[in-house]
Structure formats: structure tokens, C-alpha cells
Symmetry: C2
Subunit: 326 residues, 2 copies
């Protein structure tokens, strides 16, 4: 197997360019000082960047390069979806140990190509003294962005996409010998390995022309609710009994002895959308998006509450959830 050290920077870029293919509609792809592209007149530019670090966000021993490329792009596309945007092009930075196989890098790109939605137009490859670090920046566009700050008291809170399924998938991956029903394991692990960015739902929500607050559900419904509440200057109330829950999530949670609502609130990585819309706008929304109502917006000051079994409301801890530096 050929290593990155053997082919060198230019050889690696040439090999990547072959996997990526010609940048059909992009004026200038890999090879010049910057990528060049034309946005749709009147649209605003959306820019997002994510970093994925080996042994923090993934392990090469348990994640294939193809799945990793797929997920790295999916997670960024989810941010574009959360603004209601159309993805346009991506630039990718790779810090690579020299002894890494070139085939691994090409599989990473193949995973991104498999997901598609976006042109891969350039980036940077450099040496890493440690593990692999992936940096992916996406440029998209939208007529009018859907932001987190548009929620108003009286709105319904809704979510789209999987609910706790990615957390169920992580549990399955960590318990490879647990007697999980095969179809549940497959669905849950797929949700964890290859999340589906909700691009069509995002576009449909922009198409409503209504006031919609929106973000993507990357860190769990609890963190999403807190983020919308803080950005909009309101409080959000969530009703666990209204949470959608796939059969697979429910089945794996039962085996794990965990309340699936906990996975939905705290598990993260579901990459659906969480949003708020007025009751007047709700019927039109449900005509175009498979959304589930999970709560309501009330006057407040940036807090989020979860209804308990006795009808009481427990405040979500803004410092809770996934913490990146601990």
C-alpha cells in the first residue's frame, strides 16, 4: 500500500483530484490559489466550518474512511440545512500522518462524493505529527436565512428527523454483542455512522415564507431548545410524551435500560431540524415537512424546560450536555 509520504503533497492532490472529478459547474476547482464560484444573484452566502479530530470525534480502528467522509460532509450540510440553504461547494483541510495510506484518503473523499449535494473544490493537505484532523468548510446560499432568533411566545416547537436514534446507534456500536434485533441495530448504527442532512426540509421551510426559527439538532433536543431560547430571548417548554421515537430507538433503549427521552434530549448527533413557528403557520408547515410538535414557546429569558411525569417543569442546565473539553 502506498503512503502519503511516498506520493508527497502534489501526488496526493493529483490523486484526490481524480476521485473528486472535474468541478463541472464550478469555474475553478482544485489547483489555483482559491476556488472560484458564482452564487445565485440576490442570495446570501452561508459559510460554516467543522473540525474532526482523530481519537476525539472518530477512531480509525472503528470508523471506515468512507463512513467518516460521508459523516464529515453530512454534519456540515446539516448546518446549511438549518439555515434553509442550498449547499454549493466545500473546501477541505487534511492534516495527515505521513505513514497514512493514500487509499484511506481517497476513501474519505469517496464517502463525501457518495453523499454529494456539493462540489469539492479545493483545500489544503499538510503533515500531522499525531493523528488525522479533518477541517471542512462549506459555502451555501439562501434567499433569506432561517435563524435561531426568530422564536416568539405562543409558537409551537417542532422537530424533524430521527429522535435519539444516533445515540441508540452509538450504544449498539459500543455493545457489539448485545442481543439487539438486527433491523434495529442496522437502523441505529446507520443513523450514527451516516446521518442524513435535512436539506429538503430546510428548503421547504424557507419556501413557506413564514417566520420560522430554525437550527439543526446536532447536540440533542435539550441543547437545541436552549440555543433557540437564548438567541430569541424566550423560554421553551418541551413535552417528552410528545417526542417522536423510532421503534429501533425504543427497542435499544429498553435493552440498555435507558429512558429514550434522555437520548432524545441529550444524545445528540441526530442532525434533524428543531424549530419554532406560529400556530397559524403550523398547518402549512405540516403539508411540506414531516415535523412533530414537541413543545411550545413562552415568554422568558433564554431558558428551556422539560415537563416531568407529574406535570412539573424541570429547567435544562445550560452547562449540561456534551462538553468538548472535558
Amino acid at each position: 500500500m502506498t503512503t502519503v509520504r511516498e506520493v508527497g503533497e502534489w501526488g496526493l492532490i493529483e490523486a484526490i483530484a481524480k476521485v473528486v472529478g472535474p468541478a463541472a459547474t464550478h469555474e475553478i476547482g482544485i489547483g489555483d490559489d482559491t476556488a472560484v464560484g458564482q452564487l445565485t444573484p440576490g442570495f446570501q452566502a452561508l459559510t460554516t466550518l467543522d473540525m474532526l479530530v482523530e481519537d476525539v470525534h472518530f477512531r480509525r480502528t472503528t470508523t471506515s474512511a468512507r463512513d467518516l467522509g460521508y459523516k464529515a460532509l453530512a454534519v456540515n450540510l446539516s448546518d446549511i440545512a438549518a439555515m434553509g440553504g442550498l449547499p454549493r461547494w466545500a473546501v477541505i483541510g487534511l492534516a495527515l500522518p505521513p505513514e497514512l495510506e493514500v487509499a484511506w484518503v481517497l476513501e474519505l473523499y469517496a464517502g463525501m462524493r457518495e453523499l454529494g449535494h456539493v462540489q469539492l473544490v479545493g483545500g489544503d493537505v499538510v503533515r500531522s505529527p499525531g493523528g488525522v484532523t479533518i477541517s471542512l468548510a462549506l459555502v451555501g446560499e439562501v434567499e433569506k436565512p432561517l435563524t435561531r432568533s426568530a422564536a416568539r411566545p405562543g409558537d409551537k416547537v417542532f422537530m424533524t428527523g430521527p429522535a435519539g436514534l444516533a445515540a441508540a446507534g452509538l450504544w449498539c456500536l459500543e455493545h457489539p454483542h448485545a442481543p439487539v434485533e438486527a433491523a434495529w441495530r442496522e437502523a441505529a448504527e446507520a443513523a450514527q455512522r451516516r446521518p442524513t442532512p435535512q436539506l429538503e426540509a430546510g428548503r421547504a421551510l424557507v419556501g413557506l415564507g413564514a417566520r420560522v426559527a430554525l437550527m439543526d439538532n446536532s447536540d440533542g433536543l435539550g441543547r437545541s431548545a436552549l440555543a433557540i431560547a437564548a438567541a430569541s430571548g424566550v423560554d421553551l417548554r418541551l413535552y417528552p410524551e410528545a417526542f417522536p421515537c423510532e421503534t429501533a430507538t425504543r427497542g435499544v433503549a429498553a435493552l440498555a435500560g435507558i429512558d429514550p427521552a434522555k437520548w432524545i434530549l441529550e444524545g445528540g448527533e441526530d442532525y434533524g431540524l428543531v424549530g419554532c413557528i406560529s400556530p397559524a403557520g403550523w398547518p402549512a408547515l405540516t403539508n411540506v415537512v414531516a415535523a412533530v410538535e414537541v413543545g411550545e414557546v413562552v415568554t422568558g429569558s433564554g431558558r428551556a424546560w422539560v415537563q416531568g411525569p407529574m406535570g412539573n417543569f424541570d429547567a435544562l442546565d445550560p452547562a449540561g450536555g456534551y462538553r468538548h473539553f472535558t
Copy 2:
């Protein structure tokens, strides 16, 4: 001193947002799923991304966070300059060891702010199990990009900016006790630590409305000549006796016992511009840009040649120069 682990991801983002300040003309800065910005109607978008890895591209023991932030942004701005573009906004990814001091991160941003030219609108902060990795993506815009592929036989080859000075600076940093004249050391080390992106020159070249091939001089004049030759399908001939050379470069090179032409050709990190323009366009160019003619374009197939002392031409090795994985 407070560490990144102590303040956590959200605390760190809040502290960064204070250093960055409000994104005055940017519609949505740090805090939503993506940054949102409006490009100038009719302009094309330019996107570039660079990765900087600790102990590969910098050492925290010898480079201050402020200089590092300055240089990280300068290097990316140089790519925008090389397309003749206007920089608009940057998104920054940071992989940070948890025991890193928050003050170091804020100084990094302060260095970027000090250089300016661009709005810092978002990004990602994650944990690193090793050293610091910085990923910086820039979005710029231009009416009509100046690419590497526009050189034609008969063109003059020109360069702007420092010539070999950054390599002289690196030598000074590596030889802190060498008896280099203080003014030379200061100029050379400044060129190495804080390169100046040639944004005004790039804009002036676009303003000519002429056919100009252009790239930035990041890896030495030799690699720049090879890249333009390959992209344009021509050969470039360089004349070392015509190379500009600062007094400081010449002085440090004499002390180091090195031909300054070698630093100009192979040293890299000068971050001026290298380009080609027809003799008919040359007078107008010299009216607006401090450029020096260093060679000529001839028919060929992607090679670059350097004139030797006997008038002979030596081919530059496409595999030579800085190699990122060795």
C-alpha cells in the same frame, strides 16, 4: 491562568466573541448554524482554506500567539490577493489541548484582528489530544479572477513584494546569536513572522483589465514559476541577475554563506505575487504596482528554467522545493 478546559466550549466561544467584536457589516456572525453574508452583485466568490499544525508549521515556544494569528490570516489573505480579490469574511477552526490557556487563544484572535481586512464570523472549537491545529477558511470576492493559467509566450514574468527576505528571517531566528546587523535582523524576522498580503497590488492588477496570470509567492519563485508554467502550458525562464533583493536579504545571505538567489527561488514564505503580462501591458502595470521583471514566458510544456552564470538554462525540478510529508 485559566485553561480552555476550565471555561469549556461555550465559555471559550463567548470570550472569543468579545475579542472579535460585533460583526459590523456581517448580517450574522458567531452563534448561528452558519455565518451569513452578502457578496457584491456580479462578483464571483473566492474560497480558500489553510491548515496550520503545531510542531509542523509553528512552535508555541518560539512563536507568540499574536504573531501566529497574524500570519495565519496573512497567508490566507495572500491567496485572495493572488486572485485579485477582496477578502470578506473568515471562519476559523481550532483544535486545542484542554490545558491550553484561554489567554493564548484570545491573543491568536487579537493577532488576526490586528491584521484586519476581514471579518471573523464563526467556526468551530474542539479538543485536541495533541497540539494546536488551526484551520482558517476565507471567503472573498472578485469581478474577474486572475488565475495561474493566463500566461502566454512572449509575456514578461514579474514579482512583487519581498524576495528571499522571509528565508533570511528564518535563518536569523535559527541563529539568534549570529552577528547580523540589527536593522537587517529586524526586517528579515518581521518578514518571516508577519508577512504582508499584497491585497492592494492584486486589486490594482485586476483594475488593469488586461490578461494577467497571477499567483502568490508562498513556496519560492521556483515553485511559482513551475505552477504558472504547468497551468498555462508554457515554459518560464527566470533571470537571477534581475531578481530584486533587499539589502537585508543580501546581508544575511552573505553572513550565512548562501546565494540569495537560492533563498528567492527556494526559500518560500515571501507572500508577494508572481505573474505574467504581455510587454504591451507592462507600462500600465508598472504605473500601479511596484513589480520587478524577473523572466519571460516561452513556448513549452510546463517547465521552468533558471539562467546560470554562463548564460545556460537549468531546469527547475518539479519535485524539488518544500515537501510537506518528508
